[in-house]
Symmetry: C2
Subunit: 212 residues, 2 copies
Amino acid sequence: MASDKGILIVLSGFSGSGKGTVVKHLLAKYPQDFALSVSATTRSPREGEEEGVSYFFRSREQFEQMIAQGELLEYAEYVGNYYGTPLSYVREKLAAGQNVILEIETQGAMKVKAEHPDTLLLFMTPPDAGELIRRLKNRGTEDDATITARMKQAAEETRVMDAYDYIVVNDDVDACAQKILSIIQCEKSSAKRNPELIEKFRLGLQDILKGE
Amino acid sequence: MASDKGILIVLSGFSGSGKGTVVKHLLAKYPQDFALSVSATTRSPREGEEEGVSYFFRSREQFEQMIAQGELLEYAEYVGNYYGTPLSYVREKLAAGQNVILEIETQGAMKVKAEHPDTLLLFMTPPDAGELIRRLKNRGTEDDATITARMKQAAEETRVMDAYDYIVVNDDVDACAQKILSIIQCEKSSAKRNPELIEKFRLGLQDILKGE
């Protein structure tokens, strides 16, 4: 009886919070429930990358036309190439009842939410600040400047955490994936996602009272 | 890591939606998680009713003093007697981590929410409008005037359904109770219920950046 349309989920979170791992696990464990958004890009395909699976590969002209025609949910330019999320793909999955996960950083998340207020914003964190700092320090590079830059970015991100709908603590990949599934299922019972259900009760009672 | 304080839950719903049955089931199945709010009243105890379990029995003077001192979450007068919800009892349970359920009608629900914005509002419905109408017609009395009055009240209630946080469809008592438990657990991960967690990440990162 709850809404059966999919929900657009924007997942952000601290570097080292384990977003990528949890998303992979979600998609593998609940393939019916979740779809990962596939990005469009102007960069060239690398070996093994497949059109429509890894990315939608587009020319610069095609991409700029998509921007001009409002066909992207969000986009950014990075090292001379465009990357963006095609709306049509997302809409198709949502209509089919799948929840679409978009893994993007906080600025992009705020933009998507502003334009699509139905978006569900999830922010992933390690269990606590101590653990976050340990992970930021031990992630790939040990270069001090890089570590400091990552910490500053994380500090910046804490400023918008309260604009998210849920804070998802990841101390166990499977538990975290289950928590996300559970949040989605609960959201589907929220009053704001069920205007049709409410309207059916309204009209049903109106009709019968008219008939009395 | 999610907030460990209890949540104040206001449960409303159509006559015949099965609120009472689901609440009993919740309390029996998850006694650690839920407490039912105990009302104060000025009416006399009936046989078998226990002070502090069935009600808190108070004199009219005592009750009016509670009103004057803001010690009631909500109250109403009904057939010459006061009924109300003592704040102290609710706060004690919430502080102990129990979620307190308050089963009240929509007007009372809106008042509680206005004064205590942290309140979680749940609205219970039968599976659909047809089933609602069948239940309204077959509930206790078959007196036409009473049935029409119940339908009008239900129609009135549909006007505030969208002010609730969740619409809980009850087509199976156990599934509905589990859904309520699940909603509470998800709510505990909501950003708005976790300002302390967010603040800890903020301060933790600030401190370490100052130390660099």
